[in-house]
Symmetry: C2
Subunit: 374 residues, 2 copies
Amino acid sequence: MQFRIDAQDGAARAATIQTAHSVIQTPVFMPVGTVGAVKALDALDLQNHLSPQIILGNTYHLYLRPGDEIVKAMGGLHGFTRFPKSFLTDSGGFQAFSLSDNVKIEEDGITFRSHIDGSKHHFTPQKVLDIQYNLGSDIMMILDDLVALPATRERIRESIERTTRWAQRSIDYHRRKQMEGIGVDQNIFAIIQGGTDKEFRKISATELCALDFDGFAIGGLSVGEANREMYDTVEWTTPFMPTDKPRYLMGVGTPEDLVENVERGVDMFDCVMPTRNARNGTLFTSFGKVTIKAARYATDEEPIDPECGCIVCRTYSRAYLRHLFRAKELTYFRLATIHNLYYYLDLMRQMREAILEGKFAEFKRKFYRKRDNG
Amino acid sequence: MQFRIDAQDGAARAATIQTAHSVIQTPVFMPVGTVGAVKALDALDLQNHLSPQIILGNTYHLYLRPGDEIVKAMGGLHGFTRFPKSFLTDSGGFQAFSLSDNVKIEEDGITFRSHIDGSKHHFTPQKVLDIQYNLGSDIMMILDDLVALPATRERIRESIERTTRWAQRSIDYHRRKQMEGIGVDQNIFAIIQGGTDKEFRKISATELCALDFDGFAIGGLSVGEANREMYDTVEWTTPFMPTDKPRYLMGVGTPEDLVENVERGVDMFDCVMPTRNARNGTLFTSFGKVTIKAARYATDEEPIDPECGCIVCRTYSRAYLRHLFRAKELTYFRLATIHNLYYYLDLMRQMREAILEGKFAEFKRKFYRKRDNG
């Protein structure tokens, strides 16, 4: 993976990442394709209507169904899904932790039962990399030791220390595997933990960033803390991260979160928000959120966002989308998803443009002003 | 509406229908777009991947939600849905009869309660035309008096007689409205009833076909009778129908049904089968049906039908579609729907081609031979 900073404006960065499958211009938002499809869309929708350079796959889901061996047999995620650009896969740890029953975390790894059929499984730092080798993702995330909050400081400290030990095992395993010719084109990111605690974040960042990873993520945020706490934690943590490697803020967030964290030096984001909110009837626009079921849209001939260039806004009225949503038509979910993802991806492009022109502060002012007037 | 027979091969006809919105080449299959969208697809999918010249809308559904006045305010079905070709709308009677509670049929019309909110409504032959004027469909179906089977011969006879009386009221009302400048570009079809009873079919066909309708439908079939009974009834009925107007067999059917009834002189069909079966995991191919969830497709790299030219078969494997189906991904429903409709529309094109070449019998032999070998 090649990484190059194209421009910097304050702490905000515009960079270019080159993987084996695509050139990724940052700041970048990665649509979530949990089981090998961005919900309601297919690979042609992505290519024709959205042009993302990278999307996410969830290791936990793909491991359980269809199974990573099957994905491997079908040519990895790229061959299986026909999405030819980059994939990032998470470690599966978060879903094992949050979706499964009877989760047990030990020094060796995580034991859990499938939410699909109750079958018992065991994830270790090495195992989740083996799965991701089969998936063939361009960026692999390592297993980390997650903590259910609230937790004692001892438990949080233990989790950070274990995460570092697992990170060491992961990077050692990966570099050894690459020597054997496995995962040669695959990159590996570590995940900084520590909640909103400055000391823990500093320890976690310092320890992990001393290791030879291809990039670093900030995990454990956007879990219910105040926005300000999230922004402060990111601002505190990024100085401990290398400038010459990608920075990925996991599971974030709202359009405002993206703007605030790009300003603080984050390069990569993912979140289910644009896709999930689309399905629930909340559409993102340059002037704020639209609740499409509202009665005032019943005969509204305007597109969702008159300033949006997406295929949905160029074709359909709010009235038609409202009708499809109320009738629970399958058609609705795809159209709303295309619009929301277009909005997110376009927002990232606008931010990159502003950084390249050294006008991020101006961009940010306009971004908020429009929403206030919306 | 203009209607021209392009070729005839035995009883099978290839014709051209010109409406205000499209040129329809027959035999034609009309995808069902119940509430103003073919389920899982949008108008651009239809245009880009399927190119139907006419689709169906359901008057009952559109009347209840969003309401025909709203559709009218949005430019009718064409403006609202952005599908620019022809629409055929049914009378709403069948759904009022089958989906609603407390249905009451009297000489005046049908009283029923909405399946959505229980509200009370009354459909008369005139009222369902008023609704269809608002919808702006190219072909409107008249209200008929439906009978729940089993029924006495008296009740069936009464329904046929009432259907004729309602047809007279419908055509009188429509021609008067057209004189007033309403529905000028809209066409009106009557519906021949009578179950599988030859005498009743003859009476119904003779009485209705004496009236000045733009086309005639055969209704009340594909409701559980044996295939042979359906085919025989159509074969018996078509000779009582004018040769210079379109013949529409409502709610039919399987690919085999289409072939058999085209052979017997039917021009137009509609059915939820390709779309509903797609969603349920049954895919149509030139060699018969595919149950996509079957374990044998788990690592099958072939497209659904190697002979199919649809965008789905040109892009995705059976393995990927099976996975999406098992994971209940929204993406699946659209891809499967596109494939099944493509198969249906392509089958009609093949039949038209065969009729134009005077080779329908040969086409039919090959059609069945492939399925036997499948």
